[in-house]
């Protein structure tokens, strides 16, 4: 392909600036030594991170989001892996509909999901518990786990498994020793992506969260609705850095392009 000319690179620079600016600004402001929203022009300070550590509300929300993410990602993965195996290895009527159904939360606006869950909880009289919340997250993140797992199960050639069977391995041993290792990265990648999506989830959660089950994004949203102060930028910085680290791990493991685009480089 042709190389990029000067104007292309200029455009590119501006585009990258556009993408990165809000994140950089947030992180910069987290280090201010002043008591109000400002750039750290007088020197860096960690006072707001300290304030964060003393803010019970944010800490509770962070821990809740963490727990929630772990639980929903794990449950989603446990549901998604057998489904992915079924979809990619068997030809059966309704396979397309099943796949579409399991991926449908991606096409349903978060607002609608939030309202639907809220209604469901009020009818079933459950609402307000951690487990109710995790169910909603499982539904929302399962498509992500499923997509990534499918990507690795679909490419799987059966001959290797058949070779193992012909050599005398029982079905479950063949699965455990031959299939599982091959799809392991896809499954782990799917788990991680599900975790990230659960942790980040805002819109749907806004509807179903209660004072006792406030996730970090919801807590931040509530906070922002009242005021924007350096505390919230400190929280955001922690989130950004944490996500960056997870991104690096994901890239190492599965390749970030596979995660985000669905295809390898």
């Amino acid at each position: 392909m042709h190389k990029n000319g000067f104007f292309s690179l200029l455009f590119h620079l501006l585009f990258v600036l556009f993408i990165v600016a809000p994140l950089v600004v947030v992180m910069a402001m987290a280090f201010t030594d002043k008591g109000y929203l400002s750039l750290p022009t007088d020197g860096l300070s960690l006072r707001w991170f300290q304030a964060l550590l003393e803010n019970q509300e944010m800490l509770d929300a962070f821990l809740l989001s963490l727990k929630l993410g772990l639980v929903s990602a794990t449950v989603a993965a446990l549901l998604a892996v057998p489904a992915a195996l079924a979809i990619s290895r068997y030809e059966f009527p309704g396979r397309g509909a099943l796949t579409g159904f399991l991926l449908s939360p991606l096409m349903i606006p978060s607002v609608v999901l939030g309202i639907a869950f809220l209604r469901f909880f009020s009818v079933a009289q459950i609402g307000g518990s951690f487990w109710a919340l995790s169910i909603t997250h499982v539904i929302v993140v399962l498509p992500y786990a499923l997509r990534l797992t499918l990507a690795s199960t679909i490419g799987l050639e059966r001959d290797i498994e058949q070779a193992a069977l012909s050599l005398g391995a029982p079905r479950w041993v063949a699965f455990y020793r031959v299939v599982l290792p091959r799809i392991r990265t896809g499954v782990i990648g799917g788990w991680m992506l599900a975790f990230i999506q659960s942790f980040d989830e805002l819109t749907m959660t806004v509807f179903v969260a209660t004072p006792g089950t406030t996730t970090l994004p919801v807590a931040m949203y509530n906070h922002i609705s009242q005021t924007i102060d350096p505390l919230i930028t400190a929280v955001s910085t922690v989130l950004i850095v944490g996500t960056l680290l997870l991104m690096l791990v994901l890239d190492r493991l599965v390749g970030l392009d596979r995660v985000l685009i669905g295809e390898g480089k």
Binding site: K3, L37, I87, F92, M107, V111, Y221, L256, L260
Partner: protein, 290 residues
């Protein structure tokens, strides 16, 4: 790709997918149905939800100018965001595709990475940048471009800018996927037949990435039309979109049936856009692409 024969399938695939399927039926399908039913109830300020069934909520939405304005505003905004995403995202994707492999990976990460960061954080950054005392206004005034701060927060423009920021990665993803499938030799063939670089781009590259642009546009439009957090934070109380209107009815006025009706309309609109346009695009491009 090896599969079991259709005759030997038996119940295994269904057993494997049963857990996920059952969870989804019980916890996705049922709630959606309940909401659909709820949207047919009526509401009174004194008694709450009334157990009657009527299309009253839907009629209200269709007749009330208040809702017309909201739906039109949401649609117009989504259109503007989609257009911006095409104008910004498509060139950027092509530029990245032309880079050496090392830079390509880096910038894909930079451009797509924010998708993994919560929308709250990204919107917060813009709220800081766009405020009257925000950085952008400070810079504009320092450079002498304007004297008064330009109002961007709590305006339509602000919401459009931020939504573009949030959603342009989806456009990049869609276009990137089609770009990957392009055969470099096809470009060379065009050159060898005498086409200039611009002609090659216009008549050979662009038509081939059009499906990607279209599917990206569909995704961006659907997401923009159902956006909640960004319009809420950047747009504020008075700039309502469909999602925030539903929120208001549900958690503000507590008029659950009306909120449910708005949600249902949003859902149906979304499905029509996504499935409908995808089918149309598919039919148009079917004979051309594998």
């Amino acid at each position: 790709m090896a599969r079991y024969d259709a005759e030997h399938v038996g119940t295994t695939p269904w057993l494997l997918s049963a857990p996920a399927l059952l969870v989804f039926i019980a916890l996705l399908l049922v709630p959606l149905l309940l909401t659909a039913v709820l949207s047919l109830n009526l509401f009174s300020d004194t008694e709450g939800v009334l157990p009657v069934y009527s299309l009253g909520n839907y009629l209200e939405v269709f007749k009330d100018g208040y809702f017309h304005e909201i739906f039109l505003r949401t649609g117009g905004m989504a259109l503007a965001v989609t257009l911006l995403c095409v104008l910004l995202g498509v060139p950027e994707t092509i530029i990245i595709a032309r880079m050496a492999s090392r830079w390509r990976s880096l910038f894909l990460l930079v451009v797509l990475g924010p998708l993994l960061i919560s929308v709250v954080v990204r919107t917060l950054g813009w709220a800081i940048l766009l405020g009257n005392n925000g950085l952008i206004n400070d810079a504009l005034q320092a450079l002498g471009i304007t004297e008064q701060p330009v109002r961007m927060l709590f305006t339509q423009l602000g919401v459009i800018i931020v939504l573009t920021h949030v959603l342009v990665p989806f456009m990049v993803i869609a276009v990137w996927a089609t770009l990957q499938r392009l055969d470099l030799q096809v470009e060379w063939a065009g050159l060898s037949l005498g086409a200039s670089r611009q002609t090659v781009f216009r008549r050979i590259i662009l038509p081939q990435i059009m499906p990607g642009i279209l599917s990206g546009s569909i995704i961006v439009f659907a997401l923009a039309a159902s956006a909640f957090a960004t319009p809420a934070i950047i747009g504020g109380r008075r700039l309502k979109v469909v999602a925030t209107a539903a929120y208001d009815e549900f958690l503000g006025t507590l008029n659950w049936p009306l909120g449910a009706a708005i949600a249902m309309l949003l859902l149906v609109a979304n499905l029509i856009i996504i499935l409908g346009c995808s089918k149309l695009a598919e039919r148009r491009f079917k004979q051309v692409f594998e």
